[in-house]
Symmetry: C2
Subunit: 441 residues, 2 copies
């Protein structure tokens, strides 16, 4: 059926509800180029103001999914569970969760994204492992899933291509914040990749992509509701993103932190308590959706055993090998090329760390070279930040709070000046809040 694009924009602009046919027409015509970018961006801005109701959101998801192929994993007689994080700083849980769940005979068909703004991306982290290929064909993806239960790739051009094209436009037209559009973008990829259950890690706080706390909560409920309407299992965690997760920020540094947790023989410089707690809770939720346990707490304990017993690490090494990565690096991280410049930020006073602002650390890390300021910027895999302290820790004046790594001294200076306002020390310690704010299931 043929519609008038201007009438569709006007309808949404005036607060009307778009039909499934109108949404499908608009999205498919945009993908073929019959509807130009300027009409799509006008519609997106109208959606920003008037929102998408539940039915419209479903239509967006379906239109995104129908715009490309879908992976058929039905021949695998195992639960297929994925996890999605709305993005944070030092958020590396996927690197551990994907192989961990695979150890329980749960299939994890994980399609991830790149770093965005001040937040990191799983794809960039994986690619810091020399040789690791994230651009597999659907056939290769399915093959590795059959062998290992897990495979980690990027969004291919085949799956949900409309989402990819529209996302790129949202990014440059200030229309990334709408709950309905975010939900459609996330869920369509999960459906296309073949997941049957999804655990959402919705970040809240200064380092989250949606800084507004109420909007994050709204997003969590919308994600759950919409996912269930597609007959999929879902669960959401609201987690704190006011300070970076774990101790490392930066692609290879984060891989190293994950290895140090997964490899039982590794020397641990710090115990990444917050990272481990969130990872195991997410893992427990994934096991629950896979019907491998009764509740998250039971799943948490099951995950704990496999993680610290070394099974998870063995699976991770297998995954790296099958996806073309250098396995030697998994054992000998000291052979990885080091950053040429390094500096430290030291405590300016005695006391307790009261602030490690996630937004400041994320922005500083991008400026060190671990992320992109423009779409075609090259990433420096060795760049980043290693914390020595976390919020609540006692420090003495002059003690190292964090180390910075980059290619040039200039980058170090820029990052230091960004971090200046992102670190706080107080005279008295205070009660630490739980990193898991709420579990919605």
């Amino acid at each position: 059926m043929d519609f008038n694009p201007v009438e569709i924009i006007k309808k949404k602009r005036d607060g009307g509800t778009l039909t499934e046919e109108e949404i499908r027409f608009f999205i498919s015509s945009f993908l073929t180029g019959q509807i130009p970018e300027y009409q799509m961006s006008a519609l997106l801005m109208a959606i920003h103001f008037n929102g998408l109701n539940d039915d419209e959101t479903l239509s967006f998801v379906r239109s995104y999914v129908q715009s490309g192929k879908t992976v058929d994993l039905s021949f695998l007689n195992k639960p297929k569970i994925d996890k999605h994080s709305t993005g944070g700083v030092g958020d590396k849980t996927s690197l551990i969760l994907a192989p961990l769940l695979a150890c329980f005979d749960v299939v994890v068909p994980m399609m991830s994204g790149r770093g965005l703004g001040h937040t990191g991306g799983t794809l960039d982290k994986l690619e810091s492992i020399t040789g690791f290929r994230i651009d597999l064909s659907v056939t290769e993806f399915v093959d590795i899933l059959k062998k290992l239960n897990v495979c980690m790739i990027g969004q291919t051009d085949d799956l949900a291509p409309a989402d990819k094209k529209i996302y790129a436009l949202r990014d440059v037209t200030a229309t990334v914040d709408d709950i309905g559009l975010i939900t459609a973008s996330i869920l369509s990829k999960k459906i296309a990749e073949g997941a049957e259950g999804i655990v959402y890690d919705v970040k809240m706080g200064s380092g989250a992509n949606l800084p507004d706390t109420e909007k994050s909560r709204e997003l969590a409920y919308k994600l759950l509701e919409t996912t269930r309407k597609f007959g999929k299992e879902a669960c959401a965690l609201l987690t704190d993103m006011n300070e970076p997760l774990g101790y490392a920020i930066g692609n290879w540094l984060e891989v190293e932190e994950c290895i140090s947790i997964m490899d039982p023989s590794a020397k641990k410089s710090h115990l990444s308590e917050d990272l481990i707690q969130i990872t195991l809770t997410l893992g427990g939720a994934m096991l629950m959706l896979a019907k491998k346990c009764e509740g998250i707490q039971e799943g948490f304990q099951m995950c704990e055993k496999k993680l610290f017993g070394g099974e998870c690490f063995a699976k991770f090494v297998n995954l790296v090998e099958l996806q073309g990565g250098n396995v030697e690096l998994m054992i000998h991280q000291e052979t990885y090329p080091a950053a040429s410049s390094r500096s430290e930020i030291r405590a300016f006073d005695d006391g307790f760390i009261s602030l490690l602002d996630a937004l400041a650390f994320g922005t500083a890390a991008v400026n060190l070279g671990s992320g992109r300021m423009k779409a075609d910027d090259k990433i420096d895999n060795s760049a980043g930040i290693l914390l020595s302290k976390k919020v609540g820790d006692r420090v003495n004046k002059g003690e190292t709070i964090c180390e910075l790594f980059a290619e040039t001294e200039n980058r170090l200076r820029t990052a230091e000046s960004i971090l200046n306002k992102g670190i706080g020390i107080s005279k008295t310690g205070s009660q630490l809040k739980d990193k898991i704010i709420q579990v919605i299931d």
Copy 2:
């Protein structure tokens, strides 16, 4: 100075006020192509929702004017007054007003537009006069103004080109209705053409471009206020556009109606009372702005004399001649090529005409061929509608209400079916309302 376009869009989206520098940057970068259409349309939609305040509107006007050349008429030691109508059906007052005011030694540098949607455009009407050139250079424009005090042209690429480019984008992104953007578009052209005083004819009712009555009133006030902030004289009339103005709708038919009013020797088939009343009131207001009289009523009477005395018609014939039009047609309208197909709509009952819906008549006329449905449609100058009755007139069953003219029988059938719901007859006559709803000066 360089700004980030996404940040500017976000600022307006979130209800902020854009600075003159931000607006100028966005508009000039759009004109050079550095800001793509999809970012401009996102900004326009954000403006639709959050509006432009007075200062922002002024910045838009200035940026539009500065995007091109301006006509310098300061060497003409006479008042320069123009009129602008927001557009209606059968609205042909400009054809009479321009030569009429020129008779008083008032310079009328009129830059008009084409038909838009169901409403007609002065340019299309002028071009129905064989040979009439509306695409004059600025030099030719000024030359004719020097000789005649009046010249009527289209928007050139030189004057306010940013408005032209942005208007085209608004038209296809459902962002034409914002009061601030409309004001900037209208006023920038008037300033660029060199007008010192402007009378606004803001239409209200079914056939107006802004159907919402309150919005029309708001537009009138915004036009007045913004015009005066530029140190120009202004006055606005709110006029009724629920039924077509006068008896003719369609380009050449409307020129003929104007000639029949202006030419004292012409045979009058009808006395176009509503058209004459509005034209003379607008003329009175223009004379008042030109300081040729004390008030509109005095100006009205002065205009009446020149219009019916034949001076105005002589000036019109001069204008047609200097702009390349066929002067013979001014006397011998019977030589104009007639439409090949013709039909009539007759009264289905005895009574009084209670409805001649301007929107229906405008839409029907476009379908007959007098307007464009797509930008590149060719116009049929002979097509249109001639009313025999006006609202309030007594009719007998079977009497002609209007005649339709087109190239094909098909077009007649389409127009007839549109007019079906646009004509009403009631058993009792009712008090006619004044066509001039309000004068704001």
